[in-house]
């Protein structure tokens, strides 16, 4: 029947550093190492060709203090207040101090930042930021950042790419992370990459929800890998709902629209955000006011409007209206061309003529692999950066444009830290043990292809998972529904072994990869649901309706840490937040009343 033998091959190579993930964070790390340590060999392993990574879809911009009237302290405050004090303040200080430099570095590498008439890169307003400090390249900032990084990385022959290699396990020996095992997707063969250090830069896990802005690749692989090797996931209950996405598909309509002055109105044409403590109603954009409020507040306001029946009905569910008409065709064409294209393509709306129907969708995983300020995880030799990491700057709610800056600042940091670690490591003695581990792991992954037919369909399980998450761990949460979601997820993870695949071949078997991904995604989902159930307060993006409607600093001004042992539900622990200089206070937006709207 077959023209080829089915025996899985296992190739093995050695590198100084293995980077998993070819998005903004992974590429930043790779370039930093190649520049600073040209003698080190770097393997950049990615399940998609790097320029397909989801950094490409970021639209609005990247934060970096630039103007004389702005200051690092202001950026620090915006971030910590925006994250409702659940931020590691030392990390935030480190972060804000390096954003500008990273933006300039990108500029030197050719990033086509939008410019002012004076020839300097322009900045725009963004939600929750007290002044304009968001650098942008029209509304395709992530696209331009990713392509600039990818193309710049081509300068360095020391960066060896493993495009379309799917990492399914870490190699750990002697308590240190020593490499990864991957599937060469095109051939289905296995490849062990041994290394002195591993950097995880695999992005978020938005695919745990049904309606999200995320690419299909964002299945939380890196988080799942770390979790299985005993590394805790931090603050996973904090999942960002982006307030302006297309109903149904969840396609992102950038916050940059509101930065440029767009309005959000309900079915009566009323700018409803003024009813949720974000007023007064202003015509021109005013920082931290109305549409320039933070994402958690805006998504929550939508929920209330929906409860009150003031949303617009679309074939794909309720929506509010994002109005850009008053900006004029010229400005839309110059600043928001991509949004214009997306609205026309996906909902048939020309934003210069009619409002875009929008609703909140899951957008960003604010928690992640717990790291310290140097991006080191609890597992020596394993570093994490970008969305898959929780270095501690986002807290309970990330401000828009902080994540693109984060992947540059901490991507670079991860690269340099990992390089230092790898250079210190003795390389001898472990190769045999690692090879055995790789063989064992490869055999386990290959078992998927040998399972009997007639089992569950993969997609069925995945749909049940995303539905459970959407229902139980949404914008507003209560104990009953969260508990039910936790239970469903535990059941689903038991059923994982009952899946059978239609595709038993090795060559580009994406069903096989999806099955392994689903294992990771389910573990991440379980951590999110359990961490949410255990946080008995409301803070940032985690809002409860069941009596825990208020922030509770006494009990919960603490990071959650989720760990997973085989056959058991996730364990949730808590750890103190590093508060250096800004004590907890009231989180205030808009110029009006500070009282928060609570149901």
């Amino acid at each position: 029947m077959s023209r080829f033998d089915h025996k899985p091959r296992l190739e093995s190579t050695r590198h100084d550093i293995v980077i998993v993930g070819g998005g903004g964070a992974g590429l930043s790390a790779a370039i930093a190492i190649a520049e600073q340590h040209p003698q080190l060999s770097i393997a950049l392993v990615s399940k998609v060709v790097p320029m397909r990574s989801h950094t490409v879809a970021a639209e609005g911009g990247a934060a970096g203090v630039v103007s004389a009237s702005d200051g690092l302290d202001l950026h620090f405050r915006d971030t910590v207040v925006g994250g409702e004090w659940l931020c590691d303040q030392a990390a935030v200080d480190y972060f804000v101090a390096r954003c500008h430099e990273e933006m300039v570095r990108l500029e030197h590498w050719g990033c086509p930042w939008s410019r002012g008439e004076d020839g300097y890169p322009a900045v725009r307003n963004f939600g929750g930021m007290s002044t304009a400090r968001t650098w942008f390249a029209a509304d395709k900032t992530g696209f331009h950042i990713l392509h600039t990084l990818f193309q710049t990385s081509l300068r360095f022959p020391r960066i060896q790419r493993f495009d379309e290699y799917f990492v399914h396990d870490l190699l750990v020996d002697d308590g240190c992370c020593r490499g990864v095992v991957a599937i060469d997707i095109a051939s289905g063969d296995f490849h062990a990459l041994q290394a002195g250090a591993v950097i995880m830069a695999t992005g978020g896990a938005g695919r745990v929800y049904r309606q999200n802005t995320n690419a299909g690749i964002l299945t939380g692989d890196g988080l799942g890998l770390a979790l299985r090797h005993g590394v805790a996931l931090r603050d996973m209950e904090f999942v960002q709902f982006h307030p302006t996405t297309l109903p149904g598909s969840g396609v992102l309509i950038t916050e940059g629209c509101r930065g440029e002055g767009a309005y959000l109105t309900n079915r009566h044409g009323h700018r409803y955000l003024q009813d949720y403590g974000l007023g007064p109603e202003v015509r021109e954009p005013v920082p931290k006011t109305m549409e320039l409020g933070p994402r958690d507040r805006l998504s929550q306001a939508f929920w209330h409007e929906q409860q009150a029946g003031r949303t617009v009905d679309t074939p794909n569910g309720p929506a509010v209206q994002l109005e850009l008409m008053h900006l004029g065709r010229r400005k839309i064409a110059e600043r928001l061309p991509f949004i214009s294209e997306l609205a026309k393509t996906f909902v048939g709306v020309d934003p210069a003529c009619a409002p875009i129907p929008v609703c909140p969708s899951v957008h960003y995983t604010m928690g992640g692999i717990a790291t310290d300020i140097t991006t080191a995880t609890a597992l020596p030799g394993l570093y994490a950066c970008g969305e898959c990491a929780s270095v501690g700057i986002h807290g309970a709610n990330r401000l828009g444009s902080n994540s693109l800056a984060e992947l540059l600042v901490f991507g670079r940091e991860a690269g340099l830290q990992a390089a230092g670690f790898a250079a210190d490591q003795a390389r001898q003695g472990t190769a045999a043990a690692l090879a055995a581990q790789a063989r064992e792991s490869a055999a386990r992954a290959a078992q998927w292809l040998a399972r009997p037919a007639g089992g569950l369909r993969l997609a069925e399980l995945r749909e049940q998972m995303t539905t459970a998450m959407q229902d139980g761990v949404g914008i507003y949460r209560d104990a009953e529904r969260m508990a039910s979601t936790c239970e469903s997820l535990e059941n689903l993870s038991q059923l994982l072994d009952s899946i059978s695949l239609d595709d038993r071949s090795r060559c580009f078997n994406t069903e096989w990869l999806s099955a392994i991904e689903l294992g990771f995604t389910l573990d991440v989902a379980r951590c999110i649901a359990h961490a949410a159930l255990n946080r008995r307060e409301s803070r940032g993006s985690h809002q409860r309706l069941d009596g825990y409607n208020q922030r509770d600093d006494d009990q919960f001004l603490r990071h959650s840490l989720a760990t997973l042992a085989p056959g058991q539900p996730p364990q949730i622990h808590y750890r103190a937040v590093n508060i250096t200089r800004l004590p907890p206070g009231e989180r205030r937006y808009g110029g009006g009343s500070a009282t928060e709207h609570k149901p």
Binding site: R3, F4, A186, S187, D189, E334, C507
Partner: protein, 128 residues
């Protein structure tokens, strides 16, 4: 291990239609060549003397020749239009401020010049 399938090119120049459109454009070269040969032989006849020139003119007046020139004219017109359509892609980019000059405008400018030149030539010949 990997056995990739390489699709043969086949007769891509006939199908799909948009590639046939390109093929027709390239095919006009045959008619340009024919016309160039006709002109060259005319020049030769001219050099050879009045008799040769007269028989050349006689040959041109043959209905077959007129028919052929009709075909050449159709091909030439097609060549002109396609040439003007790709002209914006072959010349340096022009901008008005930050906006690129629309290619259609450049094509139209070429067509305007073409019409003026053609009319001028025809009038000159008619009057000559």
């Amino acid at each position: 291990m990997k056995a990739h399938y390489q699709r043969p090119m086949g007769r891509w120049y006939l199908r799909p239609f948009y590639l046939f459109v390109y093929t027709l454009r390239e095919l006009t070269a045959v008619f340009v060549l024919l016309y160039a040969l006709i002109l060259l032989s005319g020049l030769a006849a001219l050099a050879a003397g009045p008799e040769a020139w007269a028989s050349y003119r006689q040959a041109l007046a043959h209905p077959l020749s007129i028919g052929l020139h009709g075909l050449i004219l159709v091909a030439a017109l097609y060549n002109s239009i396609t040439w003007f359509m790709v002209a914006p892609k072959a010349m340096p980019a022009l901008f008005i401020g930050t906006r690129p000059l629309p290619g259609l405008l450049i094509t139209l400018a070429h067509i305007v010049v073409f019409v003026i030149v053609s009319v001028a030539l025809l009038v000159l010949a008619g009057a000559g």
